[in-house]
């Protein structure tokens, strides 16, 4: 059967390898090289400066601030998203009593996940608008005038207002993942737990949670990477990559984007990218190790 197999293998693999090599592998490889140059502006001149960009990044206060925000996201985004998603998933499937309208809720909750980030972002930027926005409108309607504020320019709220949008749109996705994982648990496990006098909480804690641990762990990694890559929503919700709101919520990826496409500092921007890549890899490996538990076969 495999007599002339290379006549098939080579032409079948070639288009994928070429496209992937040219447009994916090559740019990544180049990014690492560019990060070692002080290339800026429109000139094709790329003077090699070694680790100079990294040295400057190390001392760059603005970069440190941006990374601190990423650090905050790294804790809040996975924790809150998974907590809400897990609660809903547990309400749907776990234990005996089923929730009425579960199918309907599931369709609704998942919906924001498929809406383009740009539309979600523009929509929420109008919800947060100070004078005619929906949020301040609601707050005034329920006599909470004191709570109203310019959500997207107040340095204390802008980042969290945008993070709330990210959580709002991701909860449904993770809920569906958890649901699918929970549905593989045999119901006899829960029956046994009830016979043993367990209640809803203990059966969640002792059965559901350990048995879907692998899925939770994967979700933590996904959300951690999301927290490090976070930036499109900031640009769209705050109305541009260089607006005051965006500056006050600036995370590392946004700093990279502005250094590259606003200031044309290609070398420096690429160094930020390489640092972020290394952090992503370290973080993934780190989370894998920290969250390793005995897995249960069933």
């Amino acid at each position: 059967m495999h007599y002339h197999k290379y006549r098939l293998i080579i032409p079948f693999l070639l288009p994928a390898i070429l496209l992937y090599g040219i447009f994916v592998v090559w740019p990544y490889a180049q990014a690492i090289y560019i990060s070692l140059t002080s290339w800026k502006g429109v000139s094709g001149n790329r003077p090699f400066v070694g680790l100079d960009n990294y040295q400057r990044l190390w001392e760059d206060e603005r970069f440190r601030e941006a990374l601190t925000r990423n650090g905050q996201l790294l804790i809040v985004l996975p924790l809150v998203t998974i907590a809400i998603a897990l609660t809903f998933a547990a309400l749907f499937t776990q234990g005996s009593q089923r929730v009425r309208g579960a199918g309907f809720y599931r369709v609704i909750f998942f919906f924001p996940q498929i809406i383009p980030a740009v539309i979600v972002g523009i929509l929420w930027s109008y919800i947060y608008t100070p004078n005619v926005g929906l949020l301040n409108g609601i707050l005034r309607a329920v006599n909470l005038e004191g709570v109203t504020r310019p959500w997207l320019t107040d340095p204390g709220t802008v980042l969290w207002a945008i993070v709330a949008v990210a959580i709002w749109s991701s909860v449904g996705f993770y809920m569906v993942i958890f649901l699918a994982s929970m549905q593989t648990i045999p119901t006899s496990f829960y029956e046994a737990a009830i016979l043993d006098g367990g209640n809803r909480w203990t059966s969640f804690k002792d059965i559901t949670f350990p048995l879907i641990w692998e899925t939770i762990r994967t979700s933590v990694i996904y959300l951690a990477i999301f927290a490090l890559d976070f930036f499109i929503l900031i640009v769209v919700v705050s109305g541009g990559s260089t607006t005051m709101g965006a500056r006050r919520a600036e995370v590392a990826a946004l700093y990279l984007y502005n250094q590259a496409f606003d200031s044309s500092r290609w070398g420096y921007a690429s160094a930020i990218g390489v640092v972020l890549l290394v952090l992503t890899l370290l973080l993934s490996v780190g989370i894998m190790r920290v969250t390793r538990r005995e897995t249960y076969e069933f």
């Binding site: 197999k5 079948f12 040219i22 447009f23 560019i34 309400l91 809720y105 609704i108 498929i114 539309i119």
Partner: protein, 302 residues
Amino acid sequence: MNVDIIRPVEEIAPLAGPRIAGERRGAGTLTFSLLSQILLAFWALLVIFPFVWMIITSLKTDPEILSSPWSFPAALQWDNFSRAWTQAHIGRFFINTMIVLAGSLTGTLLVSAMAAYVLARFVFPGRQLIFYGFLAGLMFPVFLALVPLYFLVNDLHLLATFQGLILVYIAYSLPFTIFFLTAFFKTLPTELGEAAILDGASQYQIFFQIMLPLARPGLVAMGIFNFLGQWNQFLLPLVLMPSEEKYLLSQGLYFLAVQQGYQNDYGALFAAMVISIVPTLIVYVLFQRRLESGLTAGALKG
């Protein structure tokens, strides 16, 4: 709506329920289900309300929008939609996006299917290396490649062209699609191909006439997955499509939103947003079940 999704659990689960438990648990369960209903209804409202508000706002006049976010339109301003389509160029951006997606989706599926088939069905030196090479692409953040990609596409004279964007979309969709389809082709029976060989079919005929049709469920799943991913793509067009004539939808919307500060046509902006979620909405309604499993498949395998 799609109630059948959770039917299996609904049917089996009640067996375990309150019959075994005593009276007190019955009362507790009631409180619990009431609380969960409130919680779920609250979140559902939180999700739906912004979209409903968006649709209502898209039918208001600008003074109405600016005077109160709550009011309903005095008269439905369908004109907002025609202004969005023509003056705000959403119609053109829409067609641009269709052109790019027609090319990139076909390309993604064909190129990935060919590579995945070979990787799944043949043994040859370097196979593992190539497979993991593609897989590694899932780890890398796109923005790291943005700067070199911009100059590369520029050097190839593909900046601000549909062809350039199509090729880049295909390239960045390959890792996950190949990963998914390789697993899929491995599950297909080998006997059919072997029988066809005995009948004198060429390897090409086997692939196009036997394997590709058999792989349809996998191709459909990846088609939907990539449709959403590419339709929603923002960063790549933002960098690679600097010509306003050829803006894609999400990019065009973004610039429209940014420009509102000067031009003040909020009605048209909201109408434009409504127009742009229609295709996604159609795909969601038609393929809700498959789309969910397609989008979540990667996470569950991990």
